[in-house]
């Protein structure tokens, strides 16, 4: 149980970072942290106590194995996360070129 709570805390750390930090790079890091927390949660869902890897072998019977599906999902989610992080960092670099700062309180030219 405690491990799920720690996972939630990790997620909230990331969200806090996105909401409260003023530096663009720190916001991106916040997103990455909460992303990893969600991935970790998926892996925790798959875990079975004392389970073995789900590989079929004819000579022995498998009784207790971890669920392989969430692992596949996490691999996909990591690739998606990579794409969006790369794009975010690219935009952050361009913003630095144009504005000369990473501080979001000084990057607010759009009307609200």
């Amino acid at each position: 149980m405690i491990i799920y709570l720690l996972c939630l805390v990790l997620f909230l750390c990331g969200v806090y970072c996105v909401l409260r930090k003023r530096n663009i790079i720190k916001i991106i890091i916040g997103i990455i942290i909460s992303e990893y927390a969600v991935h970790l949660f998926l892996i925790l869902l798959a875990y079975r106590l004392g389970g073995r890897s789900p590989i079929f072998s004819p000579d022995r019977e498998i009784t207790n194995m971890v669920d392989p599906l969430p692992h596949a999902l996490v691999l996909t989610a990591i690739v998606i996360g990579l794409a969006s992080t790369a794009l975010l960092v690219g935009i952050a670099m361009r913003i630095y070129e144009k504005y000369g700062t990473f501080d979001i309180t000084r990057i607010r030219e759009l009307k609200r």
């Binding site: 997620f11 969200v15 996105v18 663009i24 916001i27 991106i28 997103i31 909460s34 992303e35 969600v38 949660f41 998926l42 869902l45 599906l69 969430p70 999902l73 996909t76 989610a77 998606i80 794409a83 969006s84 794009l87 975010l88 935009i91 952050a92 361009r94 913003i95 144009k98 504005y99 990057i107 607010r108 030219e109 759009l110 009307k111």
Partner: protein
Amino acid sequence: MVNSSIIPLFVAVPLGGAFLNSLLGRNRKKVTDIIGVSTAFILSVLSFVALRLYNTHGVLVYNVGGWKPPIGIGMVLDGLTAFMLVTVNVVAFCIAVYSVNYMEKFTSKWKFYTLFFLMLGGMNGVIITGDIFNLFVFLEIAAVASYALVAFGTERHELEAAFKYAVMGTLGSLFILLGIAFLYGYTSTLNMADMGNILAQSGSANIVLMVIVLFLMGFGLKAALVPFHAWLPDAHPSAPAPISAMLSGVLIKSLGIYAICRIFYNVIGFNQEISAILMFFGALSMIVGGLLALGQWDFKRLLAYSSISQIGYIVLALGLGTPLGIIGGLFHLFNHSIFKSLLFLNAGAVEYATGTRDLKEMGGLASKMPFTGTTGFLGSMSIAGIPPFSGFWSKLIIIIALVQAGKVGYAFWAVIISVLTLAMYIKVIRYAFLGKLKEKWRGVEEVPLFMKLSMGALALACVAGGALLLPGVYEAFLQNAEGLLTNGTKYATVVLEAIK
């Protein structure tokens, strides 16, 4: 089996178009144009073929890689899917034609078309997939492509808007992924039909409530419902005009509203609580979006706020849950994607000719740009709900449905906001197209041929949109989609039947 092999083409064709474009279209603008327009044309023809197939054969399921659902991934063609495919691909075709001229002023057109088709492929994927994790993957493809497209101009404002949009969009996607993880943990399946079956048998549980909240945050952010709307008025005006039209016209609908409908109606199962929540958020976005739009002087920003308001109408009607309400919501969804993309294309045409988006600086442009002026007038009257244009019929149905269900308060607000919408579009017409021509716009010329063609086609659809209610067309197009949503979790039985 032969029939269902059309389904994966909706993902394969745009991805192929994007690939060919980046391979052959580099620095060859003619090739890029030809590939872009022909890919979009093939897709819109295919969507009508799919609609016809559904009407003759019923629900079709394609098994990806030959693995049978619920183990493998299934792609499902049903009434709602066929309806959404036609809406998305027809609008995308008009916008692709428009981009031929409009995107000339940007340096790398092939990059634009590549990203455009990635986004279109993602949207089509969201619509046709029958697997909830697959839905997430396609949603992210469309979303990441749209972040890049908002930043396409790479100027100060574009980058700022794109960053804001990307941060909020990524967080929204994380909530969706978390919701999917909870659902998988509870039902041990990812197939939406199978999941619906299991959830219907197990009854209500607290975890389902948690999932509903997570999905409301995630998909509500994609659909720009009011507490989650902050990114839209920045992101939509900053993108190039064809992309604004694409984002406001179809992206928020296929990623947000379609996914909300599919999951809340067909997987989790519709009930009074969900209905109350959706109607509240719908009415809130309708009112707040409408009030904020009224005070805007930036042409595209006004349109973006108006999008929030119209999305509110759609969610309000769909949240009502009665058959008439669903018909009204879907009909308004179709109409809104037509006239909002038309209006964004008009704003783009004005920007193309004059270089400004500020309504105060315009004036009298109708005399110099008669075609843009006329189509803009038709679009505005349609969105404001003036009979006999298409927007009138859908708003009428929504209001009648609200009154019939006894929700007179919501109906009252719907009428008030409709009047406000009329006011804000009269403002647009008055300041942009009518009035005295300013001295500096003497040399303004009408936009090139392809832009006129696509605006003309969309304006025609605005005028003739009411024809969708005629018998024959109505049954084939709207009623099928409505039937699927009213059936609720019976969707599961239908899909599992079609797999066999």
